[in-house]
Symmetry: C2
Subunit: 336 residues, 2 copies
């Protein structure tokens, strides 16, 4: 008998998630109602934002209910269908859960995808998915870089940051990336084309501020912020006049009970600069446009796609925690 292994949120994490916050259960396959189809999930996207969904807090999306599978973008194949437009064998992508099988509904978030259009079907979770679209629309629509601008990216070796750096470079900007460790910094310059890589490890805010200042003597025109805390403050200390900060994420705070926040807001006044929050969901209607540009640049060899695939739903916890330890290189994906 085929069963459904499901990685459930069992308890709301306090600070850093621990294995006991989750439970891997085995359940019978769900039954399909009219208009539904059964998805065999092959890959799940693991993203920092999922940590926020585990909290019982008002956000842009409801919290993951306790006892429900951890919400994630997944790619899979239709296994059975009572829904028009979704036939068995069809590849699909949607916001489902970390589980072998999910039920899709016509009109829901799950959409057909064509694996023939991309080098690997998993690219729908990286360059051509929310990650790539976050980089594309976040950089170009929210940060509005001009050619010649200096663009600072934090979390620059991460899934979004590494793409942002490459897009800014294509756009004719000088790019400075911040990442943790010598190996990642080497990747920033050698693989993602950053002009300067800054290793934040073991440095306080003053040291980071000085290092950014040395790399950007005229200040930074754009910050693409994924991290927050002292890294954001060091960036704010180096703003150029009329600079734009796109606030994409605050991973340094997701597991802390007490956020550090930003203490250099005064610099926004001095430099007439702005911080704006961005969410990729606002650009869903324009994903086609973004994916077309990405596909073009990827085909020209101007964007490197990196994916880190861990295997096995039983490793969901450890794979997810790589996002916070930074032990992944590239978009974190779980092969279920």
């Amino acid at each position: 008998m085929t069963v459904n292994r499901r990685f459930l949120l069992w308890r709301r994490p306090q600070g850093e998630p621990v294995p006991e916050d989750f439970e891997l259960v085995t359940e019978p396959l769900p039954e399909l109602a009219e208009g539904q189809f059964l998805i065999r999930n092959h890959y799940a996207s693991l993203d920092p934002a999922m940590r926020g969904w585990m909290d019982d807090a008002d956000s842009y999306m409801p919290p993951i209910p306790l006892g429900a599978p951890v919400r994630a973008s997944t790619i899979g194949v239709v296994e059975a269908s009572r829904a028009e437009g979704f036939a068995p064998g069809q590849w699909v992508m949607g916001l489902n859960g970390i589980e072998d099988y999910s039920v899709g509904t016509v009109g829901g978030f799950t959409q057909p995808i064509d694996p023939g259009l991309v080098p690997s079907v998993t690219n729908y979770l990286s360059l051509f998915g929310a990650v790539g679209m976050t980089a594309y629309f976040g950089l170009f629509e929210v940060c509005e870089p001009k050619p010649g601008d200096t663009v600072l990216v934090s979390g620059a070796a991460g899934a979004v940051g590494s793409i942002v750096g490459q897009l800014a470079k294509i756009h004719g900007c000088k790019t400075i990336g911040i990442a943790g460790g010598a190996e990642k910094c080497k990747r920033l310059t050698e693989r993602y084309g950053f002009d300067v890589a800054i290793d934040y490890r073991g440095k306080d805010e003053a040291a980071l501020t000085a290092e950014i200042a040395a790399a950007a003597p005229n200040g930074v025109d754009v910050i693409f912020e994924n991290v927050g805390g002292i890294i954001l403050d060091a960036g704010l200390a180096n703003l150029a006049m009329n600079a734009r900060v796109g606030l994409c994420g605050l991973i340094s705070e997701y597991n802390s009970e007490e956020p550090v926040g930003a203490r250099n807001l005064w610099r926004l006044i001095v430099k007439r600069a702005s911080i704006r929050g961005l969410l990729v969901a606002d650009y869903v209607a324009r994903f086609g446009e973004g994916a077309a540009k990405m596909g073009e640049w990827a085909a020209q060899g101007r964007i490197n796609i990196d994916e880190h695939v861990d295997e096995g739903i039983e490793n969901a916890y450890s794979a997810f925690m790589r996002l916070f330890s930074g032990s992944n290189q590239g978009k974190m994906i779980l092969k279920i």
Copy 2:
């Protein structure tokens, strides 16, 4: 013999300024070179921003040099002149210092003013000066309120905040003001027309957050921020979708060695909101436009102008410190 009493910055304040940071000296009148004119200062504007100029820090203006008079906007009368266009008896306004006499230069910041155009010449330091123009351009250009929007103003009983509230009301917005103490809150609703007044005294961030939420059940579309710290964080916790925060000042932090900052930046992502720093200096070329609108509304009795005038250069320190204790009601002015 006529002498020049000058209120000098003697030492850089550590945290809250103390009397020993300043020195009142008596010097001979300055001599005029060709192209210069002598201003007898009658009124000096006292503003929170001056605290920042006392620090030796990179800002939008150089620090006040030690041993120089405390920089301030002043209004006075030309006493002697070797400059074309500035005749004795002419009223002028400019960025000078807290001193009996300043030297103006043709092409500098000092400009002629016409006291016949305003109810009181001091209005050039309040409604028709930097304070009024900060409110006008900060609200309309940076915060972009729409009629029907809910506008939250911190430091709402202050010189800028009280005008912002009145302008937002004229514009058809719902206005919520935050101030310290029952008396000020009474002024907010009775004199400045705020729909709701919130007294921040004795309340923590959670209590303030709840009180704002009760006043703005659909969230705040605009925050005009003068204060920072937990007041800003409580505002951020109540942002409506696509809200705009105009960051005008952070008076809660000007005397603290370690800024508190903003810890609710995550809300910017959830609500796709922005914080933008504003400085009135960017709008100098458009002051005529702003002053004309202000004059119209004032003549219609739609804006109340409040000024708190302390007398005597020997009281410069205590008058300045009212800005931080909040013991003034209206624009703080020193009659020299």
